[in-house]
Amino acid sequence: MPRKKRGVEERARPMSGDLAERLAEELRRSRESGQPVIDEQEFPTGKIRVTVIWDEWDRLPLEDRTAVILRAYDLAEGHGLRDRIALASGLTVPEAYAAGMLPFQIIPALRRDDAVTPEQCRQAMIDEGASVLLAADKPQLRFATEDEAEAARKRLAQRLPNSDQVWVITQEVGKVEDWASR
């Protein structure tokens, strides 16, 4: 009877387009706003958890997202940092929102006599990093903290003159059943 011996071997997953290069560029530039949002949390041991919130992940399997993130860190920071990454997760904005990670939202509360148009607001929100995955005409501009939302509100007011009164920050409180199960 044949006795077969083999190791566990995983083929490297093919990279998806130029996502790793684009993410590496974002790591180098570290922009003030827009997507992707790169959240790095350092543990006391020096290990790092990286979460990248980016609508470009849409339809990409979770494992591929992780592979792209690791590759991007390789490109931007070299292998040293990669060995410190314990967890690397990619989420779209709707996914991060569904997981309760983005409870703050900026919405445009336009009145008839406001000096800006709905389309100008929509574009300003997209430039600021809003997601259009759920509905192209209703961008979702969401944040993890109120401070982040407030900073974005100020940038929107600068980006779109005379829109200061338009932007409203709301907070998601969740469903009653979710709170009950906590």
Partner: protein, 168 residues
């Protein structure tokens, strides 16, 4: 009169999870051998879930026979994971294999003595991700027939967790 099956069951504990994980793995193998792919995947998902939960509760120091309950153990673990930045959806939270795998990695990364060596941490996460793509506890309500490669992927990921359970 012999006691009924449910009356003979022990309460949830690390020991029960580990023993049941082995049994469900073998049950799934038997189903796979009969071409019952979705049924096999369904059971392998639970194998992974129980393996990860047993490892987490062992890591935080619970005794092997400590009674594990939703309010005292599972929900606090999920809340801890959320606090550590893990994406943990409310729906089916207790069964989220990917989130349990990430919780294990994150909690281990808090202390030098328990941190996984690279790339073992990412390997644990990867198995959790793989299973999340193919398994939900709600599969029991579905009539769909799994592809062969889907069954293979779940089996390999679950087998890896089981084989490495001593190191998780």
């Amino acid at each position: 009169m012999p006691r009924r099956l449910l009356d003979r069951c022990n309460p949830d504990s690390i020991r029960e999870f580990r023993a049941a994980a082995r049994q469900r793995f073998d049950d799934a193998l038997a189903l796979a051998g009969q071409g019952r792919r979705t049924g096999a995947i369904y059971l392998w998902g639970y194998t992974a879930e129980m393996t990860l939960k047993a490892s987490y509760f062992s890591l935080i120091g619970l005794a092997e026979t400590h009674l594990i309950t939703w309010n005292a153990d599972l929900q606090p673990a999920i809340n801890r994971g959320r606090g550590l930045g893990i994406a943990w959806l409310p729906q089916g939270a207790g069964h989220n294999v990917r989130a349990w795998s990430e919780l294990l990695v994150a909690v281990r990364a808090l202390l030098p003595a328990t941190t996984y060596p690279p790339p073992f941490d990412l390997e644990v996460q990867r198995r959790g991700q793989r299973i999340e793509q193919l398994w939900r506890e709600t599969l029991r309500y579905r009539k769909n027939y799994a592809y062969l490669f889907e069954m293979r992927q779940i089996r390999e990921a679950t087998e890896w967790l089981l084989v490495n359970s001593h190191a998780l």
